[in-house]
């Protein structure tokens, strides 16, 4: 691995002080002159015809500036399949459908106006279960697609399949077979900062939108299309991203509320702000997809996997987000978590009248890792092989090309297992603590580590702008949402350019000033940004050294004169500055330009700021140093009908392990100890990295034990943290051994892989394995609540049939 000055050091996070002091400006803090507040009237039915909307009383309320419905505004189609419209016309398909909206002078008046809107509905048949939605007699959630063609089924026209090897041969070769049905629930991303935006038009019809988004440029594209629908062809949509209090996938789509804010801003000629309350966020923002999975896999007598078959049924809800591409990521664990030759994978995504779902951290991966890892424990039991040993017999290795065509450049999975085994004291504890109701368990993950190509460009650009004072202003189109992107990017720019980190300033994300980026998803932020920054820095260094070739000698000559004035009689050493400059032997480190091999004389060095000023103020030859680089990772867009393609430049691996104690009376699970070992390629910023890993672990524990958006006929029953439980400090008060395996990937910036998502991927199966080890119960449906554990314990005790 390369020697580095700043990479791998615990530098202060550039965003930390402002956030801790409450100075960072989130969407909640932003205001614009003359701003109005928007609010949405949501449907009270999951499936109904809208007979009549009476907005007359809302319009008469003092302080109301506009009331709009689908009938008096242009139709704006949105979503991955463009099956959603910003304001519904004639028909609602889910409880949260947007029927009308108001803009008013303050949030209270807006809320009051919404209460005054009366809607008459004619209820229509609805379907809430994805299996039932596939029945031929099920009511159609959509009877036409976005282009008006009739449809005959609730099945989405999004197919991701994979068949490789010979499944029948794999089944014949299997000595042991494990199978089961598993499910993962609808969960809330639970961002600390709720959703919101401000939309503002200038007098030429150009839009500026302050948006809580992870995809500023795809959002710009969506908003420009919406402007066209509003009759504003050729106008721009500028997207500015404020500080984000978490996003976790909620920002991967544009949302109806953003278009409604645009419509209201256009109608009133005033900036309009929309902000969801916590309850609205729970009830009206898309949660993580739920999934049901059927799995069969088998191994030979030595525990080597011979086949794996996975069928996924995913509840889409009433409209389609980018979450419909979950199966593209499910393919990664399905085909490539452990070595397995013969694989079948099929995913069906189904419309229902449930709230429409969207993506979240891990993006399909935890949904499929859950059944894979659970049935591996079953195989290990059947084969009489220790479950960790069985995993090692199938462990992924560098140089492998997986059935999906993933090319494994580097892989530290074995080292991760070794660490977990040692730290959990596996040999002494697994299967040995049933009397104390304690158990240990492990599970692994593979995920994209070098971005994940699901769009035709998977790139991102960086601009470095150097100023007269030696500052480096960095513009990157991805977003800092709390994950530490700006920390990693600061370290990378300082390292690659040769300046000190305090001279590096990462600009706010703004489509007007930043180069294009596909979005901050697929754990790609630091991987892409730092790779682009390394390339931009190399170009800047070339230009700086060309400047130095002309300006270094005269500048240090002035240094020497000054030095001699202060030190009469000083004789410079015998060193030919001119010749060294002509040879171009420049170095730039920590913001100082020197010549390689030059004596360490104080006058023989040039501050970067002075070089930049010398380049600037030299008459007609004056020059600025502004460099950009666009980095497109070496990966391929898979063929989804075949489910094959090397979608990432490298792959991240990891292992999590837990020791738990289970209260067999109350079902309460207490985590005693956790291990989280990850192949991260290279540590860029240890503090930010630990934050990602520990944060992912906490979120994974919530997914495993507590979290579920409960619904009845599409209505959310627990729309607040009173009844939607996430782990708090008390549940997380256990020691965590975090370990990073540095495999120095050739595609990674300084060798680093993306690590944003892995932290929650194997958490649930690792905990489930530990719970099973402790008290012998197996739960197939997340979350593994206390109540489910108690029920399973009772069934275990009761004789069958009683």
């Amino acid at each position: 691995m390369r020697d580095t000055t700043w990479i791998g050091r615990d530098l202060p996070r550039p965003d930390a002080a402002d956030k801790v002091a409450g100075r960072a400006a989130y969407i909640h803090d932003l205001s614009r002159p003359g701003m109005l507040w928007g609010k949405v009237k949501f449907s009270e039915h999951a499936s109904a015809r809208i007979v009549h909307i009476d907005t007359s009383r809302a319009r008469r309320l003092p302080g109301v500036r506009a009331v709009i419905t689908g009938d008096d505004t242009p139709e704006i189609r949105i979503g991955f399949l463009r099956d959603n419209v910003a304001l519904k016309r004639g028909r609602v398909r889910q409880q949260r459908d947007e029927i009308a909206a108001v803009a008013a002078i303050d949030p209270d008046v807006a809320a009051e106006a919404i209460e005054l809107i009366r809607v008459e509905y004619e209820p229509l048949p609805a379907v809430f279960d994805p299996e039932q939605a596939l029945h031929p007699d099920a009511p159609l959630v959509h009877d036409r697609d976005a282009s008006g063609r009739p449809v005959t089924s609730n099945l989405l026209p999004v197919s991701v399949r994979h068949v490789s090897g010979d499944l029948a041969a794999g089944e014949r070769a299997a000595r042991y077979v494990a199978e089961g049905e598993f499910s993962t629930p609808l969960i809330q991303q639970s961002c600390l900062g709720t959703a919101g935006c401000i939309a503002e038009f200038d007098l030429r019809g150009n839009l500026t939108l302050w948006a809580k988004t992870q995809i500023p440029f795809l959002a710009q594209r969506d908003f420009v299309k919406a402007l066209e629908a509003m009759g504003l062809e050729g106008r721009n949509a500028r997207v500015i991203v404020p500080a984000l209090g978490g996003a976790f996938g909620t920002g991967l789509d544009t949302h109806c509320y953003e278009y409604i804010a645009m419509l209201l801003a256009h109608r009133t000629g005033r900036p309009v702000k929309m902000l969801y309350t916590r309850e609205e966020e729970f009830a009206f923002l898309s949660p993580r997809q739920s999934a049901r999975t059927r799995i069969v896999q088998g191994c030979d007598a030595e525990g080597r996997l011979t086949f794996r078959r996975i069928d996924v049924l995913q509840d889409n809800g009433a409209y389609t987000s980018w979450g419909a591409t979950y199966p593209t990521v499910m393919l990664i664990p399905a085909t490539s978590l452990y070595k397995v030759a013969n694989v079948w994978f099929d995913a069906r995504i189904v419309y229902t009248n449930n709230t429409y779902a969207q993506a979240m951290r891990g993006y399909g991966n935890p949904e499929v890792t859950w059944p894979i890892e659970r049935t591996l424990d079953d195989l290990a039991r059947q084969a009489g092989i220790d479950p960790l040993e069985l995993r090692l017999r199938n462990v992924n290795e560098p140089g492998e090309t997986t059935p999906m065509g993933l090319e494994v450049t580097t892989c530290g999975l074995r080292e991760c297992f070794d660490f977990a085994r040692e730290k959990l004291d596996w040999a002494k504890k697994r299967g040995q603590q049933r009397g104390a109701r304690r158990g240990v368990g492990v599970a692994a993950l593979v995920h994209v580590g070098g971005s994940g190509r699901i769009y035709r460009s998977d790139g991102g650009g960086v601009i470095l702008k150097l100023d007269d004072f030696g500052n480096v202003n960095v513009s990157y189109g991805g977003v800092e949402m709390g994950q530490g992107l700006h920390a990693a990017l600061t370290s990378a720019v300082a390292e690659a350019l040769g300046v000190t980190p305090e001279r590096v300033h990462v600009n706010p994300t703004d489509t007007a000033t930043c180069p294009w980026d596909v979005g901050t998803h697929a754990s790609r932020g630091a991987f892409i940004a730092c790779n682009a920054a390394i390339r931009a820095a190399a170009k800047a260094r070339t230009k700086l050294f060309a400047l130095a070739a002309e300006l270094f000698a005269p500048e240090v000559a002035r240094n020497l004169e000054a030095h001699q004035r202060r030190n009469p009689g000083y004789e410079p050493p015998n060193f030919d500055v001119g010749a060294a400059c002509a040879a171009g032997r420049f170095q730039l480190a920590s913001g100082v330009v020197t010549l390689e091999g030059a004596p360490a004389e104080p006058w023989l060095r040039l501050e970067l700021a002075r070089l930049l000023r010398a380049g600037h103020f030299r008459g007609v030859a004056g020059q600025m140093i502004v460099e950009e680089a666009f980095y497109e990772p070496p990966s391929t867009l898979p063929d989804w009908s075949e489910g094959v393609g090397n979608m990432s430049a490298c792959y991240a691996y990891g292992v999590q392990g837990f020791e738990v104690e289970v209260d067999d009376e109350t079902g309460e699970v207490t985590i005693l100890h956790a291990v989280s070992a990850h192949d991260v390629g290279r540590v860029l910023h240890p503090q930010a990295l630990r934050g990602q890993v520990q944060g992912g672990l906490a979120q994974g524990i919530g997914y495993a034990l507590y979290e579920e958006v409960r619904t009845h006929e599409g209505r959310v029953l627990n729309p607040s943290f009173t009844d939607y439980k996430i782990p708090t400090a008390h549940e997380l008060a256990f020691p965590v051994d975090v370990h990073f395996v540095e495999t120095d990937d050739p595609a990674g910036p300084f060798g680093a892989k993306g690590v944003g998502e892995p932290g929650l991927v194997p958490t649930a199966p690792a905990l489930a394995s530990a719970i099973e080890d402790a008290v012998g119960v197996r739960i197939a449906d997340l979350p593994m609540t206390q109540e489910k554990i108690v029920r399973a314990l009772r069934e275990q005790r009761a004789p069958r049939g009683s």
Binding site: R57, A58, E112, L116, E665, Y706, P727, E787, V790
Partner: protein
């Protein structure tokens, strides 16, 4: 211009400094709602559960905030849960109140929430109710006409319903210091540590040697109101608290509670917890180190 729609007025907000001032306000606006810490009232206001014309805050009424030791202690209704926990002398006499108070909400909630508010909210899950029930606390009810006292067990009439009449408020609790042989504990089960109780249980035992001469058991979140469990008490009293007795107590608890199924838990699980927590509480109180 046609009829103009009127915005509903925000409730008026009053902050009396004495009970006398509060009576006057209540007389003028009988539909006014009393508020102390606000941790329940404000949540329900925000949910639009009620639209009172006025809120009368009791925070500045000093007489509601007293804690007076004695053979029977007086604990003012306006004492915050945090103040209750910080009162060392009280904690020594009534450790079960400290156990329950610590499980009530978060540190921020405990700083605002009051003892009286927790009871007057009359939620079946009020954390302070089961321990006060096994301590056989009495509720001091004050009005412009004077003061009356009712046993706390008669204070709760149903979910959100108390024995308070118009113009009355809970001013304090009277709690007798327990005799030397008595000890009590409070157990609560949530989905996570900081949660509304799925089930809670307070048990107070008086022991003579190994023999239980008196047992008091109260439950939260297991019936429409916080309630004493008479059958469970009868199963424990006069026994040596052996395993057979505990099995009977568990069965009695499962039989006697009347839990509901909601988004938090099923009635079945709550019923199971009732038995489990009673047994666990008795075991905790009879462990050698507890004596």
């Amino acid at each position: 211009m046609s009829e103009e729609v009127r915005m509903p007025a925000s409730p008026e907000y009053h902050r009396p400094r004495s009970l006398e001032e509060a009576w006057r306000l209540l007389e003028a606006q009988p539909d006014a709602r009393l508020v102390a810490g606000g941790t329940d009232v404000l949540v329900r206001l925000r949910e639009g559960r009620y639209h009172p014309p006025a809120l009368v805050s009791l925070r500045r009424v000093e007489s509601l905030r007293r804690i007076e030791p004695g053979r029977a202690w007086t604990i003012g209704a306006g004492v915050s849960v945090a103040e209750l926990l910080e009162h060392r002398e009280l904690a020594a006499v009534f450790p079960v109140l400290v156990e329950a108070g610590r499980r009530l909400g978060s540190a921020q909630i405990r700083s605002a929430a009051t003892v009286g508010g927790n009871l007057c909210n009359a939620s079946p899950c009020a954390d302070l109710a089961p321990p006060l029930l096994v301590l056989e606390a009495r509720a001091l009810i004050a009005s412009a006409a004077g003061e009356r006292e009712v046993p706390l067990s008669e204070f709760f009439l149903g979910p959100r319903r108390t024995a308070l009449g118009p113009g009355e408020l809970l001013s304090a609790l009277r709690v007798e210091a327990p005799p030397a042989g008595a000890r009590a504990t409070f157990l609560k089960q949530g989905r996570v540590r900081m949660d509304i109780a799925l089930a809670s249980v307070a048990v107070r035992l008086e022991l003579e040697g190994a023999r239980c001469v008196e047992a008091r058991v109260a439950a939260g979140s297991l019936a429409p109101t916080p309630t004493r469990l008479g059958e469970v008490e009868a199963s424990l009293a006069g026994t040596e608290l052996d395993e057979a007795t505990l099995a009977r107590a568990r069965a009695a608890a499962e039989r006697e509670v009347r839990p509901i199924t909601d988004v938090r838990a099923s009635a079945d699980y709550r019923r199971h917890l009732a038995g489990a927590l009673v047994v666990r509480a008795v075991r905790a109180l009879t462990r050698p180190e507890a004596r």
